[in-house]
Symmetry: C2
Subunit: 172 residues, 2 copies
DNA sequence: AATTTGAATAATGTTACAATATTCAAAAAA
DNA sequence: TTTTTTGAATATTGTAACATTATTCAAATT
C-alpha cells in the first residue's frame, strides 16, 4: 500500500465556489412550488433582459450585461402588492387612452384619484374605467371616445372608487 | 402516577392540516433569496387577484375566492423565459396596433413570424416593430399609421428578425 | 356537562450525513 | 524535466433524521 504524502495545505474545494457564490440553507417548500422556486433561484426566471434600440450581438441572456439591465414584470408593474388587483377591460370607451377591449388593467388602490388619472369605479354593481376629472366642485368620469357621454360622479351607496389604473397590458 | 387511559384511535393532528394544505420538502436556497422565496410560497406575493365586472364585497385578498382567480404577471406574460426579452417602443408608427411611444413590448423569440404577427426586426443596427406581411412571395413590414410607408423586407446582413411581440405594456 | 390533562400524531425548522465536486500536491510516467 | 495520475483535503448538495411545536382526541376529573 503506497502513500502519496501527508498534509496539503490549501487543498480541497475553496469556499464560495458553489453555484450561487453564497451560502445556502434548506428551506421547506410545498411540493407544488418547488419547480417554480428552483427556476427562480437558479435561472433567474423573472429577470428578463430589456433593450432600447441598439442591437445586441448575440441572443440576450440575463447573465450578460445590458445597457438597460433586466426587468421583473411583477416588481415593475405591481408596486404595492397588497393594494393591487387586475381588471379586464370591456368595451372601447377608453380607446383614446390606449385601453382596448380585453386588455388587462393593473389597478393600485393605494394611489389617490387625482384630476386626470384613469380610475376604476363601480356603478350599480358594474366596474367601469374612466378618466377622473374635477371641475368647479363637481366630479366627472370622462370616457375617451366621442361615442360615449361623460358621467356625473358622486360617491354614493351604489358607487365606489376602487383605485387608479397604473398600467395596461394589451395582447397581440 | 395516574394513567389516563390507553389507545385513542383517530387522535393526533390530522394529516393535511399544514399551512399549505400539501406536503413540503426541504430545498436549499441561497441565503439572500430566502426572504423572497418565503414571501412567494407563504403569501403568494406574485398572485394578484383578477376581476371581471362583478364587484367583490370587500377589498380583494389573494386568500379569498374569486370568480377569475389570481394571476402572476411573469407567468402570464412570459411563456418562454429563456426566449423572451423586452424592448421599449419608440415612435408612433404602430399606433393602430395599440403600441404607443414608450410602451414596453414583450418579445418571444421562439414564436414563428407568420403573416399578420407583430414582429421586432433590426435594420441597420436599429430595432423596429412592424406587422409582418407576406404577399406574392415577398415580405413587407407594415406600419399601422398612414404617415409611414411599408418596408420591403429581406433578411440580409444588416437585417434580422428578432421575434414576435406577444404583449404591450402601456403606462398611464 | 364542562374542564383538565396526557396520549397520539402531523408539521416544521434545523442538524446531520452520505454522496458528489473541486482543488492541491506528491508520486509516477514520459 | 515536464506531464499525467492518484489519493488527500475540503466545500457543496440533496435529503433523511430529529427535536420541538402544534393540533386533536378522549379519559379522568371537577
Amino acid at each position: 500500500m503506497t502513500t502519496r504524502g501527508g498534509k496539503r495545505t490549501g487543498a480541497g474545494r475553496p469556499q464560495g465556489t458553489n453555484y450561487y457564490g453564497e451560502p445556502t440553507k434548506p428551506v421547506r417548500i410545498p411540493v407544488s412550488k418547488i419547480d417554480r422556486v428552483l427556476r427562480f433561484v437558479r435561472e433567474r426566471e423573472d429577470a428578463v433582459p430589456i433593450y432600447g434600440h441598439a442591437v445586441p450581438a448575440g441572443f440576450p441572456s440575463p447573465a450578460d450585461d445590458y445597457a438597460e439591465g433586466v426587468l421583473d414584470l411583477n416588481t415593475h408593474l405591481v408596486r404595492e402588492p397588497t393594494a393591487t388587483f387586475f381588471v379586464r377591460a370591456r368595451g372601447d370607451s377608453m380607446i383614446g387612452a390606449g385601453i382596448h377591449d380585453g386588455d388587462l388593467l393593473v389597478v393600485d388602490r393605494s394611489l389617490e384619484a387625482i384630476n386626470g388619472k384613469v380610475v376604476i369605479v363601480s356603478i350599480n354593481g358594474e366596474l367601469t374605467v374612466k378618466r377622473f376629472r374635477r371641475s368647479k366642485g363637481r366630479t366627472w368620469l370622462m370616457p375617451e371616445n366621442p361615442d360615449y357621454p361623460p358621467i356625473d360622479f358622486q360617491e354614493q351607496d351604489d358607487t365606489h372608487l376602487w383605485g387608479v389604473v397604473t398600467n395596461v397590458v394589451h395582447s397581440l
